[in-house]
Each structure stands twice: as C-alpha cells, then as structure tokens.
Assembly symmetry: C4
Homo-oligomer: 229 residues x 4
C-alpha cells in the first residue's frame, strides 16, 4: 500500500472507479475559496471621507464598529469551518464526481456567509431591524451547517473515507455532524418564535465547532504471532 495519500488514488490502480483523484486539488480549491471568503469582507469597510473635518477622524473610525463586527463575525464563522474542513482533509483519501459537486455547493454557502454577517452586525443597532437580521443570520448558518452535513455524507457514502480508519470513529463523527445540523435547523425555527433564543442557540452551536475533534482512530494491523492467544 502506497503511503502517499494523493498519488495512488489517481492512476491505474483504481481503474473502474470513475474520475477518482486524491484530495490534494479539491482541498486546494476549497482552501482558496475559504481564504477569499475570509479576506474579502475587508473591502466592505468604508473609509471615512477625506473631505470631512480631520479632527473628527478618531470618532468616525470608532463609529465603524458595526463594520468591524461584521468582519470579525464572518472571519470567526469561516475560520471555524475552515478548521473543521482542514481536519476532515485527513479523513478523506480520495475524491469523486459527486463528492466534488457536494463540496462546491458547500463552498457556495461559505462564500455567501459574509453577507448575512454584515446584515446582523450592521443592522443590529436598529432595534426595529433586529428580528429580521437575526432570522436572516440564523437561517443562513443553518443552511451552511446542512451543506456541510451533505458534503460529509456524500463523501462517506461514495467511499472516499480513508479505509484505514476505524468504522466506529467515522460513525461518531457522522453522528456529531447530524446533531449539529439538526440543532441548527431547530435554531432556524426557534428564531422565528423568539429571535433572541434562536440567535443564542445558533451562537452556541457555532462556538461548539471550536472544540477539537476526536483524534482519528486507525485500524492497527497487528502482526499475528504464533501461539499468541
């Protein structure tokens, strides 16, 4: 068995399994989308006009706090998902047509999330706008969570998981991602009943993703020793 996780899945060995490649380039594309989604929101912070009274610049820069908040919130959510994605890159070993498509759909959700982050932070100072801003944000986050679960599930079902991982390990990850997605959907319903509660549940779920995932467990092919019980 070849130990290079990218090369072997690419050639004759897998003939018959379709357009399967290692995960290298799919990860690279995903990393680039994450990086752009992460960095792009800076262009939305508007420089105080140069024509204004210069002595007011300090106050004007401080007044941009909702825009800084939007940048930070988008960075935090995209960053947390990137950490999960980086981790899962060691769990998958190959890619395939439908897995690549599911990843692309998930990445479209990642690319979008900075917009709801701005809706929430920039409109939050207006009390009348808060419920709608919360609805929009929590629903967007639950779609993102669902897109992640779909991508993960397609990868698992299409057999792209590293075969050397213990089944129990992969099953536990799948269960965790399902729980998070279901709770996010609940938050997306709850937010229409009580926007504060929905927002709080959603925030807890995203923070939860910050916790380190369980260490991968590999099947250790112990040598069979004669006479050993």
């Amino acid at each position: 068995m070849n130990d290079d996780p990218e090369a072997p899945a690419r050639r004759d060995q897998v003939e018959g399994e379709g357009a399967i490649r290692g995960t290298g380039r799919m990860e690279a594309f995903a990393d680039a989308v994450f990086a752009i989604a992460f960095t792009l929101p800076i262009v939305e912070i508007v420089l105080p006009a140069i024509e204004h009274d210069g002595a007011e610049l300090g106050r004007e820069l401080a007044a941009l706090h909702p825009q800084y908040g939007g940048y930070l919130l988008a960075s935090a959510v995209i960053g947390v998902y990137w950490v999960q994605h980086h981790f899962s890159g060691a769990i998958f070993r190959t890619t395939g047509h439908w897995f690549v498509i599911a990843t692309t759909v998930f990445l479209a959700a990642i690319g979008f999330i900075a917009f709801p982050a701005r809706v929430l932070t920039e409109h939050f100072s207006d009390v009348a706008a808060r419920p709608a801003a919360a609805h929009y944000w929590v629903v967007s986050l639950s779609i993102l969570s669902l897109a992640w679960l779909v991508k993960w599930t397609v990868g698992v079902l299409q057999g792209h998981i590293d075969a050397r991982l213990e089944d129990g390990y992969v099953d536990r990850l799948t269960r965790n991602f399902r729980i998070v997605a279901v709770l996010n959907l609940l938050a997306a319903i709850l937010v229409f009943v009580n926007w504060q509660a929905g927002l709080a549940l959603s925030a807890i779920l995203t923070t939860w993703l910050l916790l380190p995932p369980e260490t991968p467990r590999y099947i250790t092919l112990a040598p069979v020793i004669e006479g050993d019980s």
Copy 2:
C-alpha cells in the same frame, strides 16, 4: 517510469521538449482563478441601507432575490466547469508553453462569466430587457464553451495527455467536448431568433456538464506469456 505525475516531467528526461513541467502549478493557478471567480460575486450583493426603516429589513432582504440569483447562477456555472477542470487534471500529465497560454485564455473567460450571470438575473424582472439579457448570457456561455474546447484541443495536440490512457478514451472525450461546443454555438445563434429557445438549449448544455465523465481507461501492459497466442 516514474509514478509521480509532477516530478519526472520537469527535468533532464524531457530535454528538448521545451519548457515542459508537470501540471501541478498550472492546476494551482487555475484552481485559484476558479476560486476567486466563484467567491467574488458576493461583493456585488448590496446591503440594504442602514438609514432605512428597520422594520422593512426583512422585505428588503427578500427583494434582493435577483442578486442572490446572480450569485447562485455564477456559482453553478463556475462550479460545473471547475468539476470538469478538476477531472481533466488527471488526464493531462504535462504542460507546455501553448497549453499554458490556452489555459490562461480559458481562465479569462471563467473570470468574466459572473458578469453575464448578473446581467441575466438582475435584468430578468424587466420584460423589455429579457431578450438582450438572454443574448448576452448565451453568447458568453458559448464563448466559454469554445475556450474550453480550444484549451483541451491544444493540450491534446501538444502531447500533454497521459500516455498511458487509451487513445479511444481520449478521442471520446474530444468528441463530447466538440459536440457541446457546437451545440453552444447553435444556442448562441438560436437565441437571436427565439431567445427563450436559445436560453433553454444553453441551460440544458450546462446542466449536461453535471453528469459524471467516463471513467479513464488505461492501457494495461499485460505481461507477454510464452506460448500464449
């Protein structure tokens, strides 16, 4: 023969064949252009003004649906082409001067396509603007399809295909890409006769690219066995 698809094509072994390298860095550049083209359209979605009545925020966010449509349409087309490009990365084994240039031309078309997507979706609600929006979109898509065919053909003619692939396999892919490009050109003519029909044909062709490509077929160098006929 070296099994690492990038290293061997780079050095002394290919002296005399020009500035040939493995496909790694060309794929990386292309992946980055795809990723940016895919993510950039989010900056075109305009946040409802903070000065507006906050109670209207929900309605204003819903009214952005043509802009969401533009983001989704651009993501879908760029995503579909990225899936094809990711797949073809396993078909090519080296790059060269003219192949790199043809790829760059194709990538300029990828980088442009989000603009026609916005023209179509943002102007579609205006009945008087629909024909022109459809012309623009379908012609742009047919140029993209043609640019893909040119890139593919240059790669094949310059000998960058993995030599271990069956000739018949590569020929079938070439034929498919030609059919799609010719039908896209037909759609670009048809759209000026009947914009609805042209738009429909174009949509079918792009959706068709979602289908998984044929599994690569490799020449299996079977060992010659004495006495075998």
Copy 3:
C-alpha cells in the same frame, strides 16, 4: 524517520496526538489569505471619472498619490509578514487544532491591515487628522505583531516545531518575536503621548522584520565512533 515533511505527520505514526497533519495545507490557506490581502487594495484606487476634461488626466492620476501610498504601505507590511511566515513554515513540522485556530486569528489581522494603511496614507495630507490616523495605524500594527507572537507561541507550546532543530535556535527566535511584540505595544502607548515618536518606532520595528532571520540550526546526530571520547 521520514524526510518528507508533510506525509509522515498525517497517519498512523501519530495516532493519539489528535488531528495532527503536516503544515502543507495550513501554509496553503495562509498563503492564499496573504495573497488576497496583498492584492485586494488595488480595488480601492478610484479611476478618474471619464466625464472629466481629458487634458486633466495626467494631473488627476498624479493626485492619487495618497491612494498609491496606501497600496504600497499595505503591500510592504503584508509582504514583510509573508516573508516571515514563509520562513517559519520551515520551522514547524506539524499542525494541530489550536495552532490552526491561532493561525486563523493571525490571518484575520493580516486581512484587516490594508484598511489602517489606507487610513494613514489617505488622511495624512490633512494635518488635523494625522494624530488619529497615526493612533489607528500603530495600534493596528501592534495587534498584528501580538497576533504573530500568539500564533508562534501556540505552535511552539503544542510541540509543532521540527524536533530536529536545536532548542537554543528556537529559543532565540521566540525571544526576538517577544521583543518585537513588546516594543510594538510600547509604540502603541507612545503614539498617544507623541504620535510622531510612536509612528517612528513602529516604522523601525516593521523595517526590522526585513532583516534575514537566523539560519536554522539542526541537531546533527553524529555517528558514535568506538574509542572516541
């Protein structure tokens, strides 16, 4: 011991150490964020309006010098940090959950820094605005410096340093980064007392990062020779 710095840290060998991978993909994500932060400021330079008197174009282009300055200043700071980051990529050998998170926080600061660069350069021509612009810029740079130190420290404490490096070498780097961060914090205090002095200290510290870092020192496992004292 495997000499490939990415592959070995990824699989069974490190079972039990958590979601540890080689640094390849984390570096790729960081490189992409650096590249976007580096290139994005160009969109902030506003083209002179086409409706203006064409004979004035030369003068109008020259009058954009504060915007060119913002582009150059952001490029310089991001470039200098990228050089440091590129260098440190050879010092670390693995990644882990908290190291990835600390890197993401540092990258959010990198993505932000072009905005303070524009505040400083575009408002500098207004004498009344200079103190506030200097406060904003120097404080932002000191946060960036602190974020770098945090990232470095997390990487070192979590054991991601290449084990073949001499301890003394890593300690000297750590001490240098601490000195730079502390001096940056001093500059961030000084700038409120005397903005010119704070700005000057900050500029010196960033220029200092341009100096080449000390050559890595590796533990040489000399063969034990019999009879050798």
Copy 4:
C-alpha cells in the same frame, strides 16, 4: 542527489545557507497573487442600472466596450507574465530571504497593473486624455519589466538557479530579460516624445513575451568510460 525539487533544499543538507527552502510555497504565493490580479478586474465592470429602460440594455452592454477592453488588457499582460513566471519556476530550485523579498516587490507591480490597464482603455476614447493615458500605461509596464529583471537577477546572484542547468543557458535568459527591460525603459522615455511610438514599442515588447522561451539545457554528466577518447 535527490530528484524531488522541493524537499531536499529544506533541511539539514543546506544548514549554513540561511532560510533556504524549495520553491513550492513561493510559487504558490505568487500563483495566488497572479490569479487574484487576473480575476479581480471583473468587479470594475459596472452593471447597467436596473432602473433604465430595459429596451436599451443591449446598447448599454455594447457601450461597456472600454471596460471589457480593460479586463482583456489586464488579463493579457498578467497572463503573459504568469506564463513567464510559471516557466521560470522550473529554472530556480531554492528560495532565500532576498529572493523572496524581490519576488514580493515584483508581485506588488503585478497586483497594480490592472489599474493602468483601465486608465488606458477607459480614457482612450477621449482624444485629449490619450497622451497622459499612454504615458501612465507605458511607464507602469516598464516598471513591471524592471521588477521582473530585479527578481530574476536576485535569484541568479543568490545562487537559487538549478545547478544542473548549463551556465550558457542561464546567461542567455539573463541577457534576454535585460534587453526587454532596457527596451521597456526606452519606450517609457519615447512615450513622452511621441506617445504613439512609445505605446507601439511597449506593445511589441509585451507581445514578444508570448514567444516560447528556449528549452532548458542541462549538464549531462556522461559516465567516464575507460579507453574512451
């Protein structure tokens, strides 16, 4: 001798040579900057306003031709330089502090070039603006050409060239890059005397970069055979 162009230059073997690494990550950073500079100009093409008469959409889209021109011109110049950069990635084998810094300076010029491209194409329809637009464009291109020569020269002088290349081969490349840079500087002087002539010379020089570079020549270490003359 290790055949992997990236791994060997990174570790103990080169102790004492400073912060030397393979070219992989520097190329990745450069590729990302190229990709962003290449794709970003699309955001500068302004969608015709939705409030306008829809029946005018076709005419309005056609009237955007100077903006399409700016996109195409920027793509062409960045694309041509990327092709050269991709090629030179096979010529260099290691990186070092000053080479990385010179590359960063060159990349800042690449990131900037889309702005002069817009100045030229968007102001060209105004006869009075043409000389200033031509000056700006040709001077910018000559700075880019000079930045390329500086980067190349630093790489060569710091010993980062693949040692297996023939000296004569590298010398011929250096001479070519010097000729192009000097002619670009001449174009930057000529454009102030006669803007049409300066623009024409500059265009010829950039088109010249489209020609395939000379095939790398490697020193072949032929085995010494006894008795062979």
